[in-house]
């Protein structure tokens, strides 16, 4: 049986998923207006331009918000885990997970950095960890 949570990449998103194999988080940058976006699309959501190039995220951002899921939506997931919106330094916000942190240790606006988790034999999933500051 196919795991229902596995992504099915399409023409637009295949390069993004391929890059996860090399632990690279890609974003789209518009050649016309320099808008940076995630998730990948055929056109720029700022100006409608069709010339988008892939750039690699530096992998740093802040927690826009988060929630600790205590009841998983399906047996494919092991609760509890932290779902979060992370706002990347490049601009876009993505839905992700924060790993290695509990409810008590987390807060909105915390700085986080990119990490990777295995999703399938093919792909990895970008997740984040709280950035340890000296």
């Amino acid at each position: 049986m196919t795991d229902p949570v596995l992504p099915i990449p399409d023409d637009i998103t295949t390069p993004w998923w391929e890059a996860t194999r090399e632990s690279r988080l890609l974003l789209q940058s518009c050649r016309q207006c320099n808008h940076v976006q995630h998730y990948p699309r055929a056109v720029c959501t700022a100006c409608g331009g069709g010339e988008l190039e892939w750039i690699e995220s530096a992998g740093v951002g802040v927690v826009d918000s988060f929630t600790v899921v205590h009841r998983a939506p399906s047996p494919a997931f092991q609760a509890p885990y932290v779902i979060a919106r992370v706002r990347l330094a490049e601009g876009p916000t993505l839905l992700t997970r924060i790993v290695g942190a509990t409810d008590q240790e987390l807060s909105c606006d915390f700085p986080v950095s990119l990490a990777w988790e295995s999703l399938s034999e093919e792909f990895q999933l970008p997740v984040f960890r709280i950035t340890i500051t000296q």
């Binding site: 596995l6 998730y39 918000s65 205590h70 885990y81």
Partner: protein
């Protein structure tokens, strides 16, 4: 949203009378899952569903964390919404929680955590139920047995399908409310009765602020005040809401039913004193679909 469609169709002469209804047996049928309905056909789905968010619960939960963080509030402030809903439900013999007794902030805080900061008691019920409203022209309605209730204004806004593409706050209720008030030529100060879709406790706080009943960050204090309780000047969710009265799924129609009952003076022991204008506001999707309706006694 259906009130807007019905009003437009009747005004355009495309229909004379329209019934808006919804019903489900989702409790008996055990057909509702916590994971919700994942719309896997959307372009963003492949970037969201692999993480395992609860649809729509986790999105509301993230909005709640952001809200509590921004205004220095905590879970007890959310809990007040559920406490208020129960107080009203104890006055409604049809309420699912009619015989459950009062709810306390402590009860909500100690309830099972589902998707933090929202516990089971922060989430609407899963019940069977349904409702319907009949919409027709005012001329026709004035000839009917029951006193007509006028549709004074409506507004709608849909903001997102993705969990990451728009800011969590404020919500689209600001746009739908503004549109409804403008169409009606009214302001929040003119409203005698408020019926908000309380899918989760946070939804009520966000909606009160977006609709203009108080300023940003002030809704928790408003909900904790006597103004919104039985006997207050801004009665809120007088049926007991989706939190304590009934939640068959698409609860919006029951907001309209309660507003109409109150405006007609048919609400029994929970009847509000002589209301003239009621606001009903439905919220759907992942805090992403908003519909505001202003209703008034026919004058």
């Amino acid at each position: 949203m259906y009130i807007a469609r019905a009003s437009q169709a009747i005004a355009a002469g495309q229909a004379e009378t329209i019934v808006v209804s919804f019903a489900s047996n989702q409790r008996s049928a055990r057909s509702r899952s916590l994971g919700g309905v994942v719309e896997s056909h959307t372009p963003e789905a492949q970037f969201e569903t692999p993480y395992g968010p609860l649809y729509p619960l986790s999105y509301y939960a993230m909005a709640a964390h952001r809200y509590l963080h921004d205004y220095g509030l905590n879970r007890a402030d959310l809990a007040q919404v559920a406490v208020l809903a129960r107080e009203w439900a104890l006055l409604n013999p049809k309420a699912f929680r009619y015989e459950s007794g009062p709810l306390t902030v402590e009860d909500v805080l100690s309830s099972t955590m589902i998707s933090s900061p929202l516990s089971a008691a922060d989430c609407c019920l899963v019940t069977d139920g349904g409702g319907a409203v009949v919409v027709t022209s005012l001329e026709r309605a004035r000839d009917l047995a029951k006193p007509p209730i006028q549709i004074l204004g409506y507004g709608e806004a849909t903001t997102n399908t993705s969990m990451s593409q728009v800011p969590l706050l404020p919500t689209g209720a600001a746009a739908s409310g503004k549109s409804a008030f403008a169409r009606a030529g009214l302001t929040p100060a003119d409203v005698d009765l408020v019926a908000l879709y309380d899918s989760f406790t946070i939804t009520v706080l966000l909606s009160l602020e977006a609709l203009g009943f108080c300023g940003p960050g002030e809704a928790a204090a408003l909900v904790a005040s006597d103004r919104v309780r039985p006997g207050g000047d801004l009665p809120l969710n007088t049926s007991g809401g989706g939190l304590s009265y009934c939640h068959p799924g698409q609860y919006g129609v029951l907001l309209l039913v309660e507003a109409v009952r109150q405006l007609r003076g048919e609400a029994g022991v929970r009847q509000v004193a002589n209301p003239q204008v009621a606001l009903a506001h439905g919220t759907g999707g992942i805090l992403s679909t908003h519909a505001t309706v202003l209703l008034g006694v026919d004058r």
